[in-house]
Amino acid sequence: MNAFALIRTLAGIAVAGFILLPVASVLISAGGASPEVLLSYEVVAAVKLSLLTATLSTLLIVIIGTPVAYHLARSDSALRRFLEVALNLPMVLPPAVAGIALLAAFGREGILGRYLASIGIALPFTTTAVVIAQTFVALPLYVRSARAGFASVSRTFEGASYTLGASEFTTFLRVSLPLAKSAVLAGVIMSWARAMGEFGATIMFAGNFVGRTQTMPLAVYSALQVSMDKALVLAALLILISFIILFTFEIIPKRRYADA
């Protein structure tokens, strides 16, 4: 083995160990916790709420994100570039900043929130607020992936569809979407996973209440202040769910994107 191959092997072992050790440690330590913890009210409520809210926000993301992703892939205006940068912002914002931003906009005294409050709608501390927080941070992941998928669809196919008399919408549904399918699906999975893991914006904007706004990450955080056992069990559950999601993502057949 030459020196370079040795370095690669050692680095590979180091990286794998660095990621796997903490993850495995959680699973091993959680194995020692009593099984009743798994069925405790808080844990069950957190799992249910997380699955519900992450699914709702992913649905919302697909509904509002798909047209935007398609538009971004097809238009080439200056506005598009600006929109693209703005859309990516939530991905790099620190969680606390995302939380403050949501409060400043939708809080009871927020720019928009104060008008909502005047007609009796208060978003903070509600399950809706959880969905909003998750949508805010996960939307960019979906749009990025779907946009790349649509961009890789050759316009020749769409052109052919138009020539045969199909409308723009039919063409989108029957030609563009099926051809971009794997990228769109990848976006769905990534945004769902991101929504499941959302923490900072949720705890700031939606608060922390069992059954209403306490999702799994918040429950891990709250449990950590009381008992390590419960925190470990919840953390292990989250790791397992995330692993399954990422594994599904891996086995989706991939297309190569020429100009992603």
Binding site: G107, E109, F125, G207, N208, F209, V210, L224, Q225, M228
Partner: protein, 251 residues
């Protein structure tokens, strides 16, 4: 390559400061403003560097139990320092100050709350979670008040809770931002946020007397300096600072 390893080593050791010349203090969130000033003054007087870590006393306790390094622990109730005492993490538990539990409402008081009884109505109430001293005192107070307002009062008020915060400062900020209609905090927190929140006192029947306890950690590498700090808390200047921030201290 050598440069890289030096850099890495430096980064690794930077994370493990303390023990040498300074002291690390873990203090209850409600002590934030007072301890910041105390630390500043102590540093100036004794030339000992102080690092502060504020969180709910329960969080600090778990951190210590999980092996976090600290020289001094200041808890907002007796329970958490006693637990550490039993397990041998601290050597003593010395009471050094008292506080008062109050209700705060946003300056604009959107729910029109005048007394603790109004918390029965349609309000968005925020309290600290049960493990946090401020959260425990709030529940205790509500149950004690059943003598005044009848059985079921506490449950009724607790059903208005929309968020359980991880420290008393979390409660304060939700109220100060106007997102919550009311919250249970200490008088000292209300003082720190004056202008943003209004205080509503609890009837004496609430019967809670929040007390603060301090102790030196058994594994402290700088016990002498840690003791100096605790002595400083009891010095005239130390008491003066605590009093200035609204704490009650002995003469």
């Amino acid at each position: 390559m050598r440069f890289l390893s030096v850099l890495l080593l430096a980064a690794l050791t930077a994370g493990c400061t303390s023990g040498g010349d300074g002291i690390t203090i873990f203090a209850a969130a409600s002590l934030t403003e007072a301890f910041q000033e105390l630390a500043q003054e102590f540093e100036a007087q004794y030339g000992i560097k102080v690092e502060l870590n504020f969180a709910g006393s329960n969080t600090l306790r778990v951190q210590i139990e999980q092996g976090a390094y600290a020289d001094v622990f200041a808890s907002a109730n007796e329970e958490h320092i006693q637990a550490l005492l039993r397990q041998g993490y601290v050597d003593e538990s010395i009471a050094f100050a008292k506080n008062r539990l109050v209700i705060v409402v946003p300056e604009s008081n959107p729910a029109g709350i005048e007394s603790v009884e109004d918390l029965r109505g349609d309000v968005k109430l925020v309290i600290a979670n049960e493990a946090v001293p401020a959260g425990r005192y709030a529940r205790e107070a509500l149950y004690n008040l059943e003598a005044l307002y009848g059985e079921g009062f506490a449950e009724e008020v607790l059903s208005r809770v929309v968020s359980l915060e991880d420290s008393v400062k979390g409660v304060l900020s939700k109220v100060a931002m106007g997102e919550a209609d009311a919250g249970f905090v200490y008088a000292t927190d209300a003082l720190a946020a004056r202008g943003k929140v209004e205080v509503i006192e609890l009837p004496s029947e609430a019967g809670v007397e929040p007390s603060y306890y301090v102790g030196v950690l058994s594994h402290s590498k700088n016990e002498e300096a840690a003791r100096e700090f605790i002595n400083f808390l009891f010095s005239p200047r130390g008491k003066e600072i605590l009093r200035k921030h609204g704490f009650e201290v002995g003469q």
